[in-house]
Amino acid sequence: MTVRLLLLAAMLPLAGLAQLELTLYDATANTETPIGSSLSVGPATVCGPFTSPEIRLRNIGQDPINVTTLGPLNGVIALNQYPLPPFPVPGQSLQAFYISFTPTALGTFNATLTVTGTDAVTQTVYNLNVALTGTSIAAPTLTDSSGNSYCPGGATIYVGKSQVGTPFVPPTTLTLANPTQSAVTATVAEVTPTPGGTDFGPTSPVTVAAGATQTLQLTFTPSVPNTEYGTLTLNGLVYNLAGDGYAAPPPPPPPAPQPTLQLSANANLSDNQAQVSIPLSAAAASVDTGTLKLAFQPSGNLPDDPNIIFIANSTRTVSVQVNPGDTAVQFQAGDGTFQTGTTAGTITFTLDLTVSGVTASASTTIVPAHVALDLSTAVPATDSIILSLAGFDNTHAASMLAFTFYDTTGKAIAPGLIQSDVATAFASYYKTNPDAGGVFNLQATFPVTGDITQVASVDVQFTNPQGVTDTGRLPVQ
């Protein structure tokens, strides 16, 4: 009895240790193998991590155990799919978890699996420590010329962008290193190969001898303007490839047809309604809008002539537009008719098309001319003759009027030629009537004594710097 008690006393700590147990579960056989003081994990490669079978932490006692420590939680060798302590493990129950091994380099890695639990009834503390050892084995590796390493199924190897149908050779190359004892083969292919579809190259497999390193030049020929995917299969491991195809840029638009400002033949004459037209060098391919402006630079010191305007809106600017297919610039209002005014000078047209940025200009010069008369009448009244002369002088400088009245026999009536200096009167008129340009209406009343019916006609001569305008004989009627 004494011996048994001593034995029991000696075994108490052992019994406490035995309250928690770690086993390795074989799901296939549905069996558990106790884990001793050490456990090997692996094998694994840099790109091929290892995950252990299910590990079970068993509470083989009756009392619940509160697990307060479980590790390591991080590192090359670390727990996987585990509960965060503290957590209870009821009596006769288990808590499963895994151990993963993710080597970062060739070599051996060590860690300690630690479990601490406290009996919820007896407050007995239980500790388990298992030495974990993992060994990384050699495997083929893939790096690019920028130093980036790739793992199968990991980051996608981006080959770059290429125009549809154009083979593209990325500036970076891949390096295949085969540290294993046997040759490996790399094969590049599209994810979904189709005839005439996108190509990832090289199209022939590349073999890397045991212990050798080889450079691999990828190529990419997209068939569609889209992101395309491929694979590089190395020793059965699949690396993801991707590249972007883009559409061929649309052909550059044809240059905007060149407009030409054409002025009608009468555009260089005062007192005319002339036309400007704007044919295009070719039919327009697209819409354009803009303005056509006219500017007037009077000759010498002459004033502006406000009647040099576009008829359509009585201004010096009209809106224009071009529609696809048009062979001439269109006016948004009117037909391009403008008044040439009644003042000598130069009219300049400037076209600005806003969309194409095309401009064009043309000018016409209206030279100084003789006085021109639009309406000349000589009407007899009771004892006078009323002479009316309407016309224009584009020099604004009429200087002399001369009249000769004739009787019914064709003889000049005394005093014959009658002259009058009108320079001051016209200068004053033009100054006070700037709206008129060079237009005037002169009316003169000539008192007559004697038989007015004998006054048959009158000849008027109008002088300006360009010469003399003669009305010929105006009948008095």
């Binding site: 309604q273 008829i311 209406n441 004998q454």
Partner: protein, 257 residues
């Protein structure tokens, strides 16, 4: 033997022996696209519009010496300067006008009420003319003399001239204006202006015709000055000036926007 007492137009003017003046030539008055009546100034080929002398005008005509216009419910007569010299309240609607040969106001026809009014120098007076006697839509009105009115009337697609006595309203004369159609303008001497095929046609009192090339679509003819007719062309209309003596058409400036 006559003697012309003239030593020089302007010198004479200064001495009072002769009268003379320089002014911008005024052709007449017209109703613009925004219903204002404005003087039309200038000469053939170089026009400008003066300041408006009346607004909200539905019809207007000018002989150059005088103008008549119709607002919604009134008639007004303007002198050569565009100053009002008389007016009258009338029925609503448009109006057609006629001037004497000398260019004085003569008649106004109010189609909505079928009234023919006569200007007596101070006001408009009713006449016995009856719309029923016209038996058609009045297209134009003329004043051939002081005792009658001449109408161009559209009857069943044909244009007729119907003269009415201003004394008793009786029909003095009615004749089919064969070949002519509205729009048309009847002159006091019997001349008719109408739109023919690709031309404006001036048919004289004896039937002789003069054509003026015209490819537009005339809507209305209105006197706007001595020797000048306003041609409203197309819709919305553009405005053309027809100089009768030369038979030339000119584009008239639009009101500045």
């Amino acid at each position: 033997m006559a003697t012309v007492l003239f030593a020089g137009a302007f010198a004479a003017a200064q001495s009072g022996r002769a009268q003379s003046g320089l002014t911008p030539p005024q052709i007449g008055f017209l109703r613009d696209s925004v219903q204002n009546v404005r003087p039309l100034l200038g000469i053939s080929g170089n026009f400008w519009l003066g300041d408006a002398v009346a607004a909200n005008v539905v019809s207007a005509a000018s002989s150059g010496n005088a103008s008549m216009l119709k607002t919604k419910d009134s008639l007004c007569v303007l002198n050569a300067l565009g100053h009002p010299v008389g007016s009258a309240w009338t029925a609503t609607g448009t109006a057609l006008f006629a001037f004497t040969t000398a260019g004085a106001p003569a008649l106004a026809w109010l189609p909505d009420s079928g009234e023919l009014l006569r200007w007596n120098g101070t006001g408009f007076k009713p006449t016995p003319a009856s719309a029923a006697d016209l038996d058609g839509a009045v297209v134009s009105l003329a004043a051939p003399d002081s005792s009658s009115a001449a109408f161009a009337v559209q009857r069943d697609g044909q244009l007729w001239r119907v003269d009415i006595s201003l004394l008793d309203g009786g029909v003095l004369f009615a004749a089919n204006l064969a070949g002519a159609a509205a729009p048309a303008l009847l002159f006091d001497d019997g001349t008719l202006l109408y739109a023919g095929k690709a031309a404006l046609v001036l048919r004289g009192p004896q039937g002789q015709e003069r054509t003026i090339a015209f490819t537009g679509s005339a809507v209305e003819f209105t006197p706007m000055g001595q020797d000048w007719i306003l041609v409203e062309n197309g819709q919305p209309p553009t405005y053309l000036g027809l100089r009768l003596s030369t038979g030339r058409l000119f584009e008239l400036p639009e009101v500045a926007q």
